[in-house]
């Protein structure tokens, strides 16, 4: 489960910050059963995800997956991010990912699918960015979600 790529993201997370200049939407996601908590902020330019940052507490899988996610989605069109997020979600439920290359380091989390308890940890960041885009498109600036 703990591959080097995952550990690298855990030890040196990318795009981890509590602030983002020009934030368009901020979401808070939590897995109360694990105690994972995450704030995620996005900035949108021309229907593209110009920037995404996350902050919070959680296990190595949740933190590392969010870090890998930010690298894979930054700069993409919003619809493309939603599609990639769905691709990652299906991978965590056992499907072979169609967009192997686009998931970048996210692919390292395929092995986590074998640990059902940890799947929602790996999904936390990806579900948060999807929700942030939907929140932005709904005209809201903030949203909070508690995962079952």
């Amino acid at each position: 489960m703990y591959q080097d790529i995952i550990l690298d993201h855990y030890r040196k997370p990318h795009n981890r910050a509590g602030e983002l200049e020009g934030t368009d939407a901020k979401v808070h996601h939590s897995n109360p059963l694990c105690g994972d908590e995450m704030d995620l902020r996005i900035r949108v330019v021309d229907d593209h995800l110009d920037a995404v940052v996350f902050d919070g507490d959680g296990c190595s899988i949740s933190q590392a997956s969010a870090s890998a996610m930010t690298q894979a989605v930054t700069g993409r069109e919003l619809d493309d991010v939603l599609d990639l997020s769905e691709n990652f979600r299906m991978m965590m439920h056992g499907d072979d990912p169609e967009r192997l290359d686009d998931l970048e380091d996210g692919i390292a989390f395929q092995g986590v699918a074998k640990f059902p308890v940890r799947v929602k940890c790996a999904l936390l960041g990806w579900m948060a960015v999807k929700d942030a885009i939907e929140t932005y498109r709904g005209g809201d600036a903030a949203h909070a979600v508690t995962h079952e």
Partner: protein, 419 residues
Amino acid sequence: MSATTTRTATALGAARRVDFPTLSRTVHGRRLVYLDSGASSQTPQVVMDTMDDYYSRFRSNVHRGVYQLAEEATDLFERGRSRMATFIDTPVEGLVFTKNSTEAMNLVAWSWVRTRLGPDDALLTTRMEHHANFVPYLHAQQDRGFDLRTIPLTPDGRLDHDVARELLADGKVTFLALVHVSNVLGTINDVAALAEMARDANPDCRVLVDGSQAVPQMPVSVRDLGVDFYAATGHKMCGPTGVGMLAARPELLEEMPPFLTGGEMILDVTLDGFTTNEVPHKFEAGTPMIAEVGGLGTAVDYLTDLGMDRVRAHEHELVGELIDALLSVEGVTVHGPMDPDLRGGAVSFELAGVHPHDVGAMLDQHGVAIRVGHHCAKPLMRELGVNATARASLGLYNDRDDLGPLVEGLERARTFFAR
């Protein structure tokens, strides 16, 4: 406790692993070190043999059968009841079998708390309860409107008796629900003293104790504790899953309306009414868990032969060493009382900078099974100011040789996840 003299030479700890088939297996190439008996104990072969015997020799339903097999099945079932009642020193006619201790506490919440408590009453419980001994009262409170009060903790994880006395002072507390031994902190509560304190404040106060963690690790006399209801569960005391119990004062069971209704719990049914069966059968609707109660009876025999005073002495000695072993790892903090006299064999801890899920996953790679998370005690987690903890808990088959792999796994987690 007369049976304790029969096998006093039997060693506890590693010497008993031969009785438990699961403990001979390996996990990830390592010897299994099972430190999660607080969640569920292992099962000795003799218990499985009893259940196999029922399924292969006299499989049939209990009570009312007029043939040989049914009589044997009924004997097995009622033997389980009498063994269990003797084991925790409670009247056999007050011992109701449920599917677990959660159901036992729900039985009391529905048939006592919801029928007796109203807006003029208060229910007192504690901030170290398992959800099973807390949520049923939150739920009942929504319908019945009584005041729900909670006893806070001292800094070392014990119940604050001074505040408890204040919470009882107005005499409105008519029900006290508390845990005997905490599943998170390991704290052994002075149940007899708190029950007496509650009755001094209001002689009509009834007391329920959640004994899920206590019965597997120490001698328990419900009679000596002086409480009205005592809940426990089979799967934590070397018995099968699917069987728990409520030990109640029989006269209270007589007064209470039934909980679940249907077959077995009735004496007579007409088109416009029914009369209930005698206690405890009044609270056992439908075909019960026959094999499981039979297996539980054998688990009681097994524990009685070892002697619960010896089980307690073994875990008392080992828990001190467990705490020392945990604290030998840099960055580990331990919750709850440090004095083994005040605690049972469950020890919650944290490893600085490493999430409990990662601690648990790393220990698994070393063959060590512990529990991580909120342990079904979220109010207590908030009280401790944490989201989750790691918890190692002892059984009679644990020994010193289990502590090495635990420390080794924790050292590995500490260096592996260092940032």
